[in-house]
Structure formats: C-alpha cells, structure tokens
C-alpha cells in the first residue's frame, strides 16, 4: 500500500451540490469520494493505493483531471485497488458529475 497527498491548482468549482462517492474498492477498481474544502483555488487529493510505485502516473492523471474540470475547493479522497489510469479517469469524472447534480438526479 502507498499513501500520498497532492494539492493541485484548479479553477473554483461552480457549486458543490453534494458530497459524492463513486466506485467500489475491488481488484482493478477504486472508490472516489468528493467533499468540500476551504481552499477555493486548489484541489486536495488523498490517494491510498494497493499498487506501489506509480506516483508519477497518478500525478499526471490527477493533473489532467484538475486542468479539465473546475475542482478548486474540493477534497478528493481515493481508495484504489490497482485500477488502470483509464478507470481512474472515468471514476473521477463520474464522481465529479455526481457531485454536481442535485440529490434526486
């Protein structure tokens, strides 16, 4: 297991409707939890991953995500069981979309 935190600059999120949890911690998969934080111009990531030695890839994936989406002011916590970058990106997007929707969506 490897644990690390990364804070990346990002545009301030338009509105956080609700905290969100997407995905399941199973082999090749991960869960992503999105909550509000108090730093509007940056996004804080906390990653727990079962696959050691891929921090560079994580940084690249998360940097692209923070660039593509307005996630300033969010805490994003991840429990990962060896997901590929494709799955990580997909799950991040899903969690983000869900956090932007009303609770009834």
């Amino acid at each position: 297991m490897e644990r690390f935190e990364i804070t990346l600059p990002s545009l301030h999120v338009s509105a956080l409707q609700q905290s969100a949890l997407c995905g399941v911690v199973s082999s090749g998969n991960l869960e992503v939890m999105i909550e509000a934080n108090s730093t509007p111009e940056s996004c804080h990531f906390e990653v727990n991953t079962s696959a050691d030695g891929f921090q560079d890839i994580w940084r690249a994936v998360l940097a692209d995500f923070s660039e593509r989406h307005k996630v300033g002011g969010l805490n994003i916590s991840i429990n990962d069981a060896g997901a590929t970058p494709a799955v990580v990106s997909l799950r991040l997007t899903q969690a983000y979309e869900e956090s932007q929707e009303g609770s009834d969506a």
């Binding site: 297991m1 199973s26 079962s50």
Partner: protein, 301 residues
C-alpha cells in the same frame, strides 16, 4: 430505447439502495465521510473502503418508513469485519427502538472477513441476536439475495433468520462455499467449477422450491422492490413462539427424510412436482413461479 433494467446482480450496493427505495428518500447512517475504515485491513496492507463495504440507513419504500442494509459484494466479498458488522448491528438495534415498517437486508457476503476473523464471527453472532430482538420488537426483517457473493457462512445463517427471503435465480444461499467443500472434501464431492451444479445446489430456484426463499424474482432491482413492497403488506406473522418453532422443526425433519440422499437441485425440483426438473434451470422466473404454484396446488389437492 434500450432496456432500463438495473441488474441487481451487477449493481453496486449504493446503486441497489438508491434504485430500490423511493427516489431520494435514503438517509445514510455512519456515512463514508466519517471514514470508519477497517484498521485491521490496513494493518495487513489490504485496501480499505470508506464505508467498510456496507451501506446502512433509513428510507421510504412505497411511502413507508424502512431501514435498509446493503452489503457490497465487490469489496472483499462482502465479508463481515468489525466495522462492517457493527454498522449492521447498530442499525438493527436502532430499528428495534424506532420500529420502521421493516428492515431490508441486502445480503451479498461470503460470511466472516478472514483478515479480522474473530471480530467478524462475534459481529455475526451479535447481528443474529440483534435481528431476533428486532423481530421480537415487532419489526420484520426481509433478506434480499441476488448479488455475486450470495449469502454464505454466517450471513447465510442470518439470512435464514429473516421473516422473508427474496431471491433472484442468480442469488445463492448456503453455508459453506463450493470452493471450501471442494478443497476439503475433493472435487468428487463438489466440483466448484461446474457453475451449473453450483447453482443447482445453492441458487435461488432451489431455495424457492424448498420454501426457504419466499419469493423468486427477476434479476432486476425493480423486481426486488416489488417483492419487498409485497412483503410489507400487513400479514399475520407468526411469532417465534414454541408452537411455531415446533412446526418449523417438523418441516426441517421432514425435509431430511424426504431428501435423505439428495445431492442435486434437480431432485428437489422433481419432488416439488416440476414435470421437467432438468429444464428448470432454464425457466424464466415467472415460468418457474407459475409451474411451482401449479405443482404445489396439485400436490395439495
């Protein structure tokens, strides 16, 4: 457009909950943001989950207040550890006090989580006691079984303590998993890779034919919802009193006499009166229910 069916088998625990209960009515107790993860998994360098693999809370079902538990079979096989078990036990305790119309237990678990086996075993015992206390307080508990891990080990026992057991044919219910039996007793006793046999021994259609499952529904969250709503409609539930337990005892004795040598669900279906027991595995849930009702009627008349 395309089929909007939400497969119960495939859905995550959270999706099952949100699509089963009235839209937007779910309130989670001890939500993932509290981060009650398992310290025992972490100590063994295994991945943890923010909800420790189980979602618990209150909701409305067809407008009526219910409590709901959903195990996440994809996280560690839905296995019960300290936190996971305590969440279920806590919910049952609360149900005994707040008295919702019913508690729905979406079981998807192989039983005790080996990484914290002792905590898990005791937790399941606590769940058993809490469940029976909840029933004694007048709150029925329904098990819904249709996930990839089925209901095995201690959770198989817990499932059979419930007032109703609603299963899909994909759902499995038993005590020891086929792999365990094969490992200990050999492939001749149970070939766990013969998936068809595995389902003939533990699957929903066998459980329904034996009367252990009270409903067999399609692998569709909406069908489970309908089943749970039907189960809620006021019926005179027999209390777990001496007379009832003696009657249940007699039923269980009778089953062992009737099935003294049964090792395959085909025999169960034959004895349940199915005209073509070999073909039962391929029947749709509705055709199965129809034939079962007909044969039961014939047997009784």
């Amino acid at each position: 457009m395309h089929n909007k069916r939400v497969s119960f088998f495939e859905a995550t625990a959270r999706t099952r909950v949100s699509t089963l209960v009235d839209s937007g009515s779910f309130t989670e107790f001890c939500p993932p943001s509290k981060r009650f993860t398992s310290p025992h998994l972490a100590r063994l360098d295994a991945p943890v989950a923010f909800d420790d693999g189980v979602v618990v809370g209150s909701a409305r079902l067809d407008g009526q207040p219910v409590f709901i538990v959903a195990q996440e079979g994809k996280f560690n096989g839905g296995a019960v550890g300290e936190v996971h078990g305590a969440k279920i036990r806590g919910l049952l305790d609360r149900a005994a006090v707040e008295k919702p119309v019913a508690v729905l237990l979406l079981v998807d678990s192989g039983g005790v989580r080996l990484h914290e086996a002792n905590a898990g075993l005791i937790a399941i015992s606590e769940i058993m006691r809490a469940l029976m206390a909840t029933q004694a307080a007048g709150v029925p508990v329904f098990a819904l079984v249709g996930g990839s891990c089925g209901a095995f080990g201690g959770m198989g026992i817990v499932t059979r303590l419930c007032d109703e057991v609603i299963m899909s044919e994909e759902g499995r219910l038993g005590l020891s998993g086929p792999e365990v039996i094969e490992t200990v007793k050999g492939v001749g006793e149970f070939d766990s890779r013969d998936r068809s046999l595995v389902w003939r021994v533990t699957g929903g259609k066998v459980r329904r034919a034996l009367g252990e499952a009270t409903q067999l529904v399609d692998d569709d969250v909406a069908a489970f919802r309908e089943g749970a709503i039907a189960a809620m409609s006021p019926v005179q539930r027999s209390a777990n009193d001496l007379a009832t337990l003696k009657q249940q005892h007699a039923t269980l004795v009778q089953r062992r006499e009737k099935h003294a040598h049964t090792v395959d669900g085909i025999e169960v279906w034959r004895q349940a009166g199915f005209a073509h027991p070999e073909g039962v595995a391929m029947l749709s849930a509705s055709a199965f229910n129809e034939q079962l009702n007909t044969s039961v009627a014939e047997v009784k008349s």
